[in-house]
Amino acid sequence: MLTDTILFYVFAGLVLGGGVLTITRRNAVHSAISLIVSLLGVAGLYLLQQAEFLFAVQIVLYVGGIMVLFLFVIMLVNLDLAARERQFNRQWLLALVAAAAVGAQIGYFLYRGKAAFHIADTGALAASGLGNTEVLADHLFSEYLLPFEIASVLLLVAVVGSVVMAKKRI
């Protein structure tokens, strides 16, 4: 299981490095590329945790969908002026202090509760012989059918809303 450990640290490095670069770059395109690296690291972590369907969804939807949308908007909106301005607002020190305080709380909680998260035995999630996608589909289309349909309505509303807002005149 040494491979798993090494892969975890590689992907964690990708996630955190990409995240830090995302919020520190001046050029928005560089930020988007760093965010893609970070999202790919998250996809690798899904694969390590035997969530194969989410791995595919992460790559197809996030990297292939959302990030392309982001890059389109970056090209559409003129960001040259914004890149020459100050990048951080005036409350950045206060924000860092607040984030550090929250981080200390979460770290303390994880440290104290470490024993509660014991390692479960490595029996596969799909003990029934079905793959990850089949198990997800079974749950999604039976007990989560109503939330699934509501999510599709939400996507329809989002599509209509973004078209209405981005259009010049209706």
Binding site: G19, L54, L110
Partner: protein
């Protein structure tokens, strides 16, 4: 450090959440604020998947699918607002949009 446990994933998720929070709170460029929100949602998903794996329960992965759906809707609407805003105000800096400020 060697066997990777749930705590490792939770610590990584917390770190990613904090990076995203700092991005939302400190950056002026709205595009990068939206990207930081994506970072936060990914931290949430990492948490859900870690608990799904630890508890041997597939419900966490289903919740992650719904979180991804919400992230897509949020990105689409947010970028639509951004385009409308840029057309009207010619700026993408969050602290220059202060019409409602005292």
């Amino acid at each position: 450090m060697h066997p990777i446990t749930t705590v490792h994933y939770l610590a990584l998720s917390a770190a990613l959440l904090l990076i995203g929070t700092v991005g939302v709170l400190t950056r002026r460029n709205i595009v990068i604020i939206l990207m930081s929100i994506e970072l936060i949602l990914n931290a949430v998903n990492l948490n859900l998947i870690a608990f799904s794996q630890a508890l041997r329960d597939v419900n966490g992965q289903i919740f992650a699918i719904f979180v991804i759906t919400d992230a897509v809707a949020e990105a689409a609407v947010g970028l639509g607002i951004l385009i409308a805003l840029f057309r009207n105000k010619e700026t993408v800096l969050a602290d220059e949009i202060d019409l409602l400020k005292w």
